[in-house]
Structures are given as C-alpha cells and as structure tokens.
C-alpha cells in the first residue's frame, strides 16, 4: 500500500483522525467559548445557504452505514 492508500485507510478508520491533540483543541474552543460566534452557530440553520441536492441524504446514508458497522460487531 502506497502513501496515499495508507492515508485513505487511516482516514476511514473510525476515530483515527481524532487524536488527543484534536480533543485538547476542542476543549480549548469550549472553554474559550466565543459567545458571538456561538450565537451565530445556533442561528446558522436559518442562513440562506442551501446544501447541494443530495448531500444531506448521501452523508446521512454514509453515517448510518458507520452506525450499522459499529453496532453489528
């Protein structure tokens, strides 16, 4: 497996992309909560950005497959 193949494999291993540093940074973002930005996040579903057709469904199916794979083991 070449470098790209290895990257692809690790990319799709559940959780592999989310190491300790990732979670430290998430904790940082939560502790340093930017109130104005968080308000924007809460209201973002009312912004006029409509996802491209089929994106939500495709991603939903992909995540459902991830769920099935995890809980069938």
């Amino acid at each position: 497996m070449g470098a790209n193949g290895k990257t692809q494999a690790s990319r799709y291993a559940p959780g592999a992309a989310f190491g300790a540093r990732f979670w430290d940074e998430v904790e940082y973002e939560i502790e340093a909560l930017d109130a104005a930005d968080f308000e924007l996040f809460l209201a973002a579903d009312r912004l006029p950005f409509v996802p491209r057709p089929g994106v939500a469904e495709t991603l939903g199916d992909s995540l459902a497959a991830l769920c099935r794979a995890r809980f069938s083991n």
């Binding site: 992309a17 998430v26 809460l42 991603l59 769920c67 809980f71």
Partner: protein, 184 residues
C-alpha cells in the same frame, strides 16, 4: 447536559441508529451553513459535516456532559474549521497563536500583514507588562493552547486560581488594548 441530550446520548451509546439519525437531522443544516459562511466553499462544508459527525459518533464516549451537547458539537465544528483554515494559510485575527511571526500567509498583501504585525506587537507589549504569574498563564492558555486542568498541573496551582489569573490578565489586556478585538 440537558435531559434531552442525555436521552439522545444514551440511545446512541446503546446502539440506536435512529437516535444518531435524529441528531444528524437536527444539526446538519446548522453545521453546514456555519461552515459555508466560514469557508466560503459548499463542497468543503460537506467534508466538514462528515468530519464533525464522524467525530461525534466515533468519540461520543468523550462527551462527559460538562457542557450541553450543542456546545460540544460547536467545539468540534470550530476546531475542524480552524484546522482547515490553518492548512489554507489563513489567519484568525487576533489569536496569539495564529499570527505569523516570520512567514507571511500567501493571501495577505503587505498592508494587512503590516496591520497584523502592529497588532501583534501591541499585544506582546501588553502581555509583557502583566505580572509574571498572569503572563505565564496567558502564554500557556493562548500560546500553547493548554486547557485549564493542564495549566493547573504545570504551575502547581488550583484550577480556580488559574481561572482567576486568566480573568485578571484578560481584563488588564482589554484595558491596555482598547479597540482591539481580542480572541479570548
């Protein structure tokens, strides 16, 4: 954590795929639009959504309920967006960590870069005027991006004492730097 969050989290942890789908349907549009606004790229926002929901699903055990679920999801989203923006060479004003010290990002012309450096200089000067204990805490928190618990461990102080120092330091910096939008 709200009661509603607890029910969803418990159901997902118990292996209920419908619960995760509910969570997805509830937040997809929010995360997608927030990402489009930040990145200006709908296709990249699609990838962010996938990354966020994978992180939520794969690592739900990390959610301890110290904050609301929506805050946790926001933290994940923001971190993933920050990482993408960093890879692009973008700069978030005015974070102590992200302002370039030597190399200029490719998309900054000389004028905005000069402004960034001026701001950085003022911020560094203000930090230099803080009492040593406050300066150390600010550097660990915003330079090294350590969380409160780790700073407390490193400095041998309680978490409350660290928070108190941070509060005093930020108040002092805000007073020294009127008009600057400090990303605390």
């Amino acid at each position: 954590m709200t009661e509603e969050d607890r029910i969803i989290v418990d159901a997902i942890r118990a292996g209920d795929p419908d619960a995760f789908r509910d969570l997805y349907q509830r937040h997809f549009r929010r995360i997608h639009s927030f990402s489009v606004r930040r990145l200006g790229d709908a296709a990249e926002a699609d990838d962010v959504c996938q990354d966020v929901f994978e992180a939520v699903f794969c690592c739900l055990d990390r959610f301890e309920g110290k904050s609301d679920l929506i805050v946790w999801i926001y933290g994940i989203t923001r971190n993933i967006l920050n990482n993408r923006l960093r890879r692009r060479g973008g700069v978030r004003l005015v974070s102590l960590e992200d302002i370039p010290q030597a190399a200029a990002p490719l998309d900054l012309g000389p004028e905005p870069l000069a402004q960034v450096r001026q701001t950085l200089g003022r911020v560094r000067e203000a930090i230099g005027k803080l009492p040593e204990e406050q300066r150390r805490v600010i550097e660990l928190r915003h330079g090294k991006r350590l969380n409160i618990r780790k700073i407390a461990q490193l400095t041998g102080r309680s978490e409350d004492a660290v928070k108190s120092s941070l509060y005093r330091a930020r108040r002092s910096l805000a007073a020294q730097l009127p008009g600057e939008r400090l990303a605390f």
